[in-house]
């Protein structure tokens, strides 16, 4: 049996790599401290939202509430949630006219008579982070600054974010931006400070028609379960296989 330097280096290298990965695995095994929010067990919840497009009146209350609750930048305007106004022309149904002045922050005042455009299809679509179960944005983060929480909310650790913008490009729904004040990525947190205390999100709290509803997909008694059974719901861009958890009722096929 010979024992040369090359073999020794290889074996020691293997030992080093394996022991390092074992130490990481061990830390994951011994983890399991209780959560910081009292009376809230993360693993008991799996948050999602149901949006009834037929009920959205385009008042923009959700946009204003979100900004007030979460201190979202006003100048320049960035959005954690916004409302889009769709006009589908019967001559070209694949290419709707989409407008969202200030994200709907000031509502959508309509100039002209309400029946001046009878040949087209009109509706509003509120949008926000879809809190995907297989979110592309968390997969591309190089530093572990964004993640899916055990209760299904996609969050950002502002202390870790480098503002490399990979996640902004990775989100197929355009839900992320760089906050110019902190130079970190920012997005909807599903009002994590509220839902962990048993309250609903600011947008759902302030939707006057009940078009948006927060739901706990793990709670069999949550009204969202019946809503999903009673309606033909879809998610945005299902072909992206993101596992989106914002369910839209009666969404037009022209919405992207």
């Amino acid at each position: 049996m010979t024992f040369d330097r090359r073999k020794f280096l290889l074996d020691t290298g293997k030992l080093l790599v394996l022991s390092a990965s074992a130490s990481v695995a061990w830390e994951a095994i011994v983890a399991g401290k209780p959560e910081t929010a009292p009376n809230y067990t993360m693993t008991d919840h799996w948050w999602g939202m149901a949006i009834d497009v037929d009920k959205c009146i385009g008042c923009g209350s959700c946009v204003r509430a979100c900004k007030a609750e979460n201190n979202v930048p006003l100048d320049p305007m960035y959005f954690r949630t916004w409302v889009e106004q769709y006009r589908v022309n019967p001559d070209d149904m694949d290419h709707p006219t989409v407008e969202s002045p200030n994200g709907g922050y000031d509502g959508f005042p309509f100039k002209g008579a309400p029946d001046s455009d009878p040949k087209a299809k009109h509706f509003f679509v509120p949008k926000l982070c879809n809190h995907c179960a297989d979110s592309p944005c968390t997969q591309v983060c190089p530093v572990g600054a964004t993640f899916i929480s055990p209760d299904g909310v996609v969050l950002i650790d502002k202390d870790y974010c480098l503002a490399c913008r990979y996640c902004v490009q990775a989100c197929p729904y355009g839900c992320r931006f760089i906050d110019p004040r902190t130079m970190t990525a920012d997005k909807c947190t599903l009002c994590y400070q509220r839902i962990t205390k048993g309250l609903t999100t600011a947008c759902c709290e302030n939707c006057p028609t009940g078009a948006r509803r927060l739901g706990d997909l793990k709670n069999p008694n949550d009204p969202i379960q019946q809503f999903l059974l009673d309606h033909h719901v879809v998610v945005l861009k299902p072909q992206m296989a993101t596992g989106a958890k914002v369910y839209y009722n009666d969404l037009d096929g022209s919405v992207r």
Partner: protein
Amino acid sequence: MSDLFKNKVHLVRMAGLFLVGIVAFVILRWWMVPKSFGEYGHYRGAALGEIASLPMHYAGRAACEECHTDIVAQRKGSPHEQIGCETCHGPLLAHAEAGGEPKPALPDSRQLCPRCHSASPYRPKGFPQVVVADHAPEGQCTACHNPHAPKIS
């Protein structure tokens, strides 16, 4: 056999070098990686508590209804019954926590009401809408409508 350990000083040197490297790695890792990193996954577990303890601004209608029982009675059965109080009155957690102070300013109905009720083909059919210029060219909407029970019988 003696051949194998002929140059064992080389082995000792290398082993010492590796040992120093391993110790430095463990110390640096312990010092630089936050304690909660990897608690739930490849991220800092403490971030969850930090995000959950961010300040709130909206109290929620349940908090409002604890004191304002007269408004609850007014709203009963009205088309505005299901609307959150802070949708019109603004974020009032500070007001609720301090037991009534600071008093919120009354919203300007000329600005507030048309956001929902100005006529637009984009709004759902059947939702009550008015062309504001025809319906009420001037004056507060609240001069005729009680916002908590807006139907005029």
